[in-house]
């Protein structure tokens, strides 16, 4: 059966519809976020160890980083 294009192989082009400027007085480029915004709007690409559950690992991350909420992006359904 032929391969289907995986979503991560889709190439997109950005088309400009209108010109405008953005006020540097509001907001930040995501890569320039400082603490605490960096963490408040942050994600971690975590290589989870096989033993503990995702729930336990989330609790550890919450404790280490001292955040109120940390959610995982889906368990590995074996």
């Amino acid at each position: 059966m032929p391969r289907i294009d995986a979503p991560w192989t889709v190439k997109r082009e950005l088309l400009t519809k209108a010109e405008d400027d953005t006020d540097p007085g509001f907001g930040h480029k995501p890569e320039e976020r400082q603490y605490p915004e960096l963490v408040k709007f942050g994600v971690i690409n975590l290589d989870k160890p096989p033993g503990p559950s995702s729930h336990e690992v989330a609790a550890w991350v919450r404790r280490i980083l001292n955040v109120k909420q940390a959610g995982h992006g889906g368990t590995l359904e074996a």
Partner: protein, 248 residues
Amino acid sequence: MALEDATKTIQVLLGAGKEYVCVMKLHADIPEVRVKEVLEEFQGKIYQKPPVRASVKRRVRVRKVYYVDVLEVDTRNVLFRVGCEAGTYIRKLCHDVGEVLGCGAHMHELRRTRSGPFTETENNITLHDVAYLHSKWRETNDISVLRRFVLPMEKTLGLLPKIHVRDSAVDALCHGAHLTAPGVTSLETGIVKGSKVAIYTMKGEAISLAAATASTEEIFEKNHGIVARNIRVLMPRGTYPKLWRTKQ
């Protein structure tokens, strides 16, 4: 793993495509050529009924297998890489490959190597290093240490088509208003009516998740009217100034 307000982006990940590396064990000796032949048959659309332990309705459903690449065959052990739609059961796939081969097979080991835009080669970090880098950041107060593993939540939205809007449109969107044509400054190709899009400021900050009500070409041509309906607001109200009024 999403932190604090970034947890709102998790739903995007749950429906995103995945990639796994798997070790399948065959229950008899089969020629490598035949193994590869059958695995290739599982590329494309396949039928699956979820296992009992899954918390979904157990009806046969179609799933897309984007590719299956056999990496190594060692007597009865088959190492392969597979890219697939969310909700594809690799355990079931291995079982079904075994059925087609006639001898039976089972999934021995599985490692997820991709979840949407997240791979195991980019900014991947262990729990140990999270603890280490966090304390290093506390010591040095150097934010670049934190940035090594805390990524902006925009990364989660990486595979969704982007629409950028002007500053004056931002706060209305943060209040749940739908996106109208005059607000759009730029947009990516490949948007179809109904597909999920991510709306950003001109600085690249995520504002909200939305469903496009028109295609890229149509949105480009439109001068008024709704082009995307807000599904989930991500940016807090007030980040950008309120430049809109309620109808008098």
